[in-house]
């Protein structure tokens, strides 16, 4: 029943994504232009700008990275239709349907706290802070499934260097947008909104931690955390907070949304660890989306060489 039925459309006949998107953009823009002409209104610059922030618009000048994995990428369709984004409902299929209400422009990210150069960034300015790279990372969800996702973004440490943390800055606290009008899931108190996540300074400085603004070479779709999100591939997926509006540098370890919801189940560190089970289920194996058999979960999601040193001497059973 799970054997994939061969598609009756030949691969050569499928319109490639770019052409398809260009066609859509053409249709949208020409119809918008026609409407503008018909109504007698033309907003200067409007047509040119509209494409820029749209999910699916191709991002230019994206560099490859040696930190990418060569594993088979999870299809775009699955990455964008199977999401845990409780701000748009707790069902995995609802963010794709309900996140259209999220308005990603204009968007600002306040960078503040124990730093010399606090600033409220416009997201388009923030995106240009550092050259964009493609980072193909494994993503392991705490629920026991995983994907391989080609993110586009740049290292978080690029931003950290710019804002110059003071000696008091020991942790970073990230906050998601809180707006129940745009995020209908926030109308129910499933979690203590807004969503909060955190990293220790040395974790945040690790080259693997990125701020992502794209997926598959194009602007991030809303359901994947547009316009800007964190990706920390050696930690369970929920650490990689989406739709960030504030990054605060703090002295004390922040209380994260999931820690508040269930402190015995979701720790601050939440590193992928096959030896430390979730209190209610095993973390030893995972199902890679698209695969039938479960595979073994790797220590630090396979990034041990890059990050194991951060946790030297720590008992990961206590600091789960």
């Amino acid at each position: 029943m799970l054997i994939k039925k061969p598609s009756d459309i030949k691969g050569s006949e499928i319109t490639d994504k770019e052409t398809y998107l260009n066609r859509r953009r053409f249709l949208i823009e020409t119809s918008a232009a026609a409407a503008a002409v018909a109504t007698g209104f033309v907003f200067p610059g409007h047509l040119g700008d509209s494409g820029e922030a749209h999910a699916g618009t191709k991002l230019d000048g994206v560099r490859k990275s040696p930190l990418s994995t060569g594993e088979k990428k999870t299809p775009f369709k699955d990455i964008t239709n199977y999401n845990n984004f409780y701000e748009f409902g707790t069902d995995k299929y609802s963010p794709a349907k309900k996140s259209k209400s999220l308005i990603t422009r204009p968007w600002t990210v306040a960078v503040e706290g124990e730093i010399s150069r606090p600033k409220v960034y416009d997201v388009d300015e923030l995106i240009k802070l550092s050259p964009l790279e493609e980072r193909i990372y494994r993503l392991r969800c705490v629920e026991g499934w995983s994907m391989v996702i080609p993110w586009v973004g740049y290292p978080l440490n690029a931003l950290i260097k710019v804002v110059e943390p003071t000696s008091k800055a020991k942790y970073l606290e990230f906050v998601t947008l809180y707006d129940p009008k745009q995020m209908p899931g926030q109308r129910r108190g499933v979690l203590d909104w807004p969503y909060v996540e955190g990293l220790r300074m040395d974790e945040a400085m690790n080259p693997l931690a990125i701020l992502a603004v794209g997926l598959y070479g194009a602007v991030l779709p809303n359901q994947n955390g547009a316009p800007i999100r964190l990706v920390v591939p050696w930690k369970y997926g929920f650490k990689s907070i989406k739709s960030i509006v504030r990054i605060r540098f703090v002295e004390k370890q922040p209380k994260t949304a999931w820690e508040k919801a269930a402190p015995n189940e979701y720790g601050f560190y939440s590193n992928v660890n096959p030896e430390v089970d979730h209190p209610r289920w095993s973390q030893a194996r995972e199902r890679r989306i698209g695969e039938f058999f479960k595979r073994k979960t790797l220590m630090f999601n396979g990034y041990a060489d890059h990050v194991a040193h951060l946790y030297k001497g720590m008992d990961l059973k206590i600091h789960f």
Binding site: L2, K77, D78, Y86, K92, R280, S282, G290, F292
Partner: protein
């Protein structure tokens, strides 16, 4: 009778819709990114729904006094068993792929699986003794006592669901509320019956009838819905304390 047979056939087919839906989804490769999760969730959900439907037959029969409703109970119960079998098979085959060690560990270590597995095991004797022959062999009373295991199984099913969700308790709590309503009805009936027995030991049967149905109960309440009939009964009962010794 013929009419009932037709209804039975229709209900039987309706009960197969969830399976057909899943089967079609699997055949057309349309079950989303994580088909095994969808199959597990769906079969689990329908097990719970069928357990609740089965448990609502008796209360519904008592309220509406449509005695023939009981004729569907066995079939509905067996459909609950059918879906729990699919749910369990999905777990051991598609999810764990017959990894007996992992399954054993899960059942012992994971409370939500322990509870879910127990609920499944509890339903097995009920399915086995669902035939007419087995009812006769056991005797109605013993059969009925045995089949009260469904209460435990349904409670276990709701707890299983409640313990597996991450943060959003809404859906398991809805199932829990419906189950509490259905079990509460039985407790109310049972409490009332013990009172009746107490009363019966002191009074004549005619008094009992008056106590139960009230003195001035109209005999043909066609214009009343079954629900308001029930209410009427309650009012009659409320008035009884005046005449009681």
């Amino acid at each position: 009778m013929k009419f009932l047979t037709w209804i039975k056939v229709i209900i039987f087919l309706l009960c197969l819709i969830p399976l057909g839906h899943l089967g079609w989804g699997a055949f057309t490769n349309n079950l989303g990114a994580n088909p095994i999760e969808v199959i597990t969730r769906s079969t689990g959900k329908w097990t719970l729904i069928f357990l609740l439907i089965t448990l609502s037959v008796s209360p519904l029969r008592k309220i509406t006094r449509l005695q023939w409703l009981i004729k569907f109970r066995r079939m509905l119960g067996l459909f609950a068993f059918f879906y729990i079998c699919l749910h369990f098979t999905t777990y051991i085959w598609l999810d764990q792929f017959f990894d007996i060690m992992a399954i054993g560990k899960d059942v012992i270590k994971r409370p939500f699986i322990t509870v879910g597995f127990s609920s499944f095991v509890l339903l097995i004797p009920l399915a086995l003794t669902s035939t007419r022959g087995m009812i006769k062999r056991l005797g109605g009373r013993r059969w009925q006592q045995l089949h009260r295991l469904i209460y435990l199984s349904a409670i276990g099913g709701v707890v299983h669901f409640l313990w597996l969700v991450k943060a959003d308790l809404q859906r398991p709590l809805i199932y829990g509320a419906v189950l509490m309503l259905l079990l509460g009805f039985r407790i109310a009936v049972w409490a009332r019956l013990t009172q009746v027995v107490k009363f019966f030991s002191k009074h004549r049967p005619t008094d009992l009838r008056r106590w139960l149905w009230g003195p001035a109960r109209r005999r043909s309440p066609e214009h009343l819905s079954p629900h308001s009939r029930l209410l009427g009964r309650g009012q009659a009962r409320a008035g009884r304390s005046v005449g009681r010794p």
